[in-house]
Symmetry: C2
Subunit: 354 residues, 2 copies
Amino acid sequence: MPADGDLSLRSLRERVERALHSFLAAQRERIAGMAPPSARLVDLIEAVLTGGGKRLRPLLCCLAFLAAGGTDGPEIVAAAGSLELLHTFAILHDDVMDQAELRRGRPALHRRLAQERREGGHPEDAEVYGVSVAVLAGDLALVLSDAMIAGSGFPKEAVARALRPLEAMRVQAVAGQYLDIHQAGGPSISLEEAAGIARLKTAGYSVAGPVAVGLALAGASGVLRAAIEGYAEDVGEAFSLRDEVLGVFGDPEATGKDAESDLRRGKPTTLIAAAIERAGPEERQVIESRWGNPRSSLEDLEAVRKAVEGCGALAEAEVAVASLADHAVGRLREVGLLEASPGRELAGLAERLK
Amino acid sequence: MPADGDLSLRSLRERVERALHSFLAAQRERIAGMAPPSARLVDLIEAVLTGGGKRLRPLLCCLAFLAAGGTDGPEIVAAAGSLELLHTFAILHDDVMDQAELRRGRPALHRRLAQERREGGHPEDAEVYGVSVAVLAGDLALVLSDAMIAGSGFPKEAVARALRPLEAMRVQAVAGQYLDIHQAGGPSISLEEAAGIARLKTAGYSVAGPVAVGLALAGASGVLRAAIEGYAEDVGEAFSLRDEVLGVFGDPEATGKDAESDLRRGKPTTLIAAAIERAGPEERQVIESRWGNPRSSLEDLEAVRKAVEGCGALAEAEVAVASLADHAVGRLREVGLLEASPGRELAGLAERLK
């Protein structure tokens, strides 16, 4: 596809989708030839993918690559698609560890597998079976993610350049999840510190990482590279703030997640840290006693929401998101990137966080 | 280290050990700088490594590389060491899925973590915590395995060549474990077929894979390559037969595994398939009613062992192991590899399976 082809998000997303499905079809065949029943794991990965998701990470990777002057073609679409398989690994393992009931509005995979096992006449080990198979499907997604970028068609040197940011994303995904579990046992570091680390993780893994992979594949350098990296830093921070706000105020219909779980688990966020700092004694007492309390009722959590809003922390977060998004778009404008399609699409992604 | 240096198994093993520990020390520091509590995951990987293991896969990889004419140095030791991290990933996840109590003679990591959590005053989520942290430590081991070979110092082209056998090993580890779980729900394929697949997995993942990685790194070709691949095929088959025999007759003190679990779970093996075929009606009835029966008593399982021995299946397996090992050594002799140290050490590994 020529560089002046259709680079709308929708068209890119469809190309990523096709690349993922054709890669997985080939892998299913390969695994079926080696150990027939195990091909089922590929079906499970496919089911998670078709269950939803915005493909944010592949899109950011593609657009950063193209904005930095990379040549459009099947190589970048496949390489970017590999990030969605990495994310599928993270989703599957996180849901098992968080004992999540829902993912993208449906029962999480380990729950569906347990249910299937019970109905298949094995109630005795249904839960363990669900967890085991979901963990294995996640393992395979991680292994295949690596195979997909290695086989994307890029020269070896380009893939080797992408390895460093890619590896950082993988470590961030794992180290970040450990923080969540560790935190649940009572923080040994301050809330602010924990929130900073968690934010670093979301921003790095979901935004800066994919952009860095795209830039590395393009072999980008100089002012163009610096501008796109600056964009990624701002958008990453805005994205994680938006994520924090959705975790407290989001509509479960839209987020596909249980609206209360982050609040009951006491997930460390800069939003909560800011609220505790800004709140008066009464609001602070509400937050500190009910946030992170597994026994909090829906009313208790509604009171936490009111306190976070009442003290001005929500408005402050919204202002910060808007200002970060504007600043990110400014970075692209400065180097003339808004004059072409990939840069404009990057700007659109930033605007949509507002 | 010059090519005529000390290539004894013991010396190679020590070098692999040192490479693993210094790599992990650097990773611990890196992760501590990113998310301090998560450095704990590196400690857990280290604990599994120091808990034991013969480093079979790294040794096979090093020796195949050296026998094929590769130059000795820190590169091959680091690249081979990465296979032990891959194996640590497999061990950690397998133990969680098999709900194993023991590994290398000590409580399995997820058990130790659950115990620690209980003692830390969190009995309510101790089991989930143990499983979650063990899965994450396994995830990190897989991610770091990749980083260790990528950073081993080999030229990019050599690492790229090794990627195909490496990726096959990873898929074999995951697809093979799925077979185990799938099988536990009642076989939809014949025992013989299942055993064949499982054996393919052990042989490929534990022997042929590591040897193929070493050969790829050395850029081996021609008769030398063919001979070492032939060796790996024979030794792989002998190794998995030995593994099957140990699973039924092994001393738990020596194997570090629960002596009964494979029998009670009905792990599909060619040994059991052969026994069922060879056995008279009475012995067959003993095997078919007690093998793969979670309610079998220690006496029941002892009767299964007697039947497997009595029908001649055990002796047949021992003869097959010896003949495969001899054949493997013959392959090395034919091309003159027994005249140098790496080939002689490979031969020694084969002899030790007898």
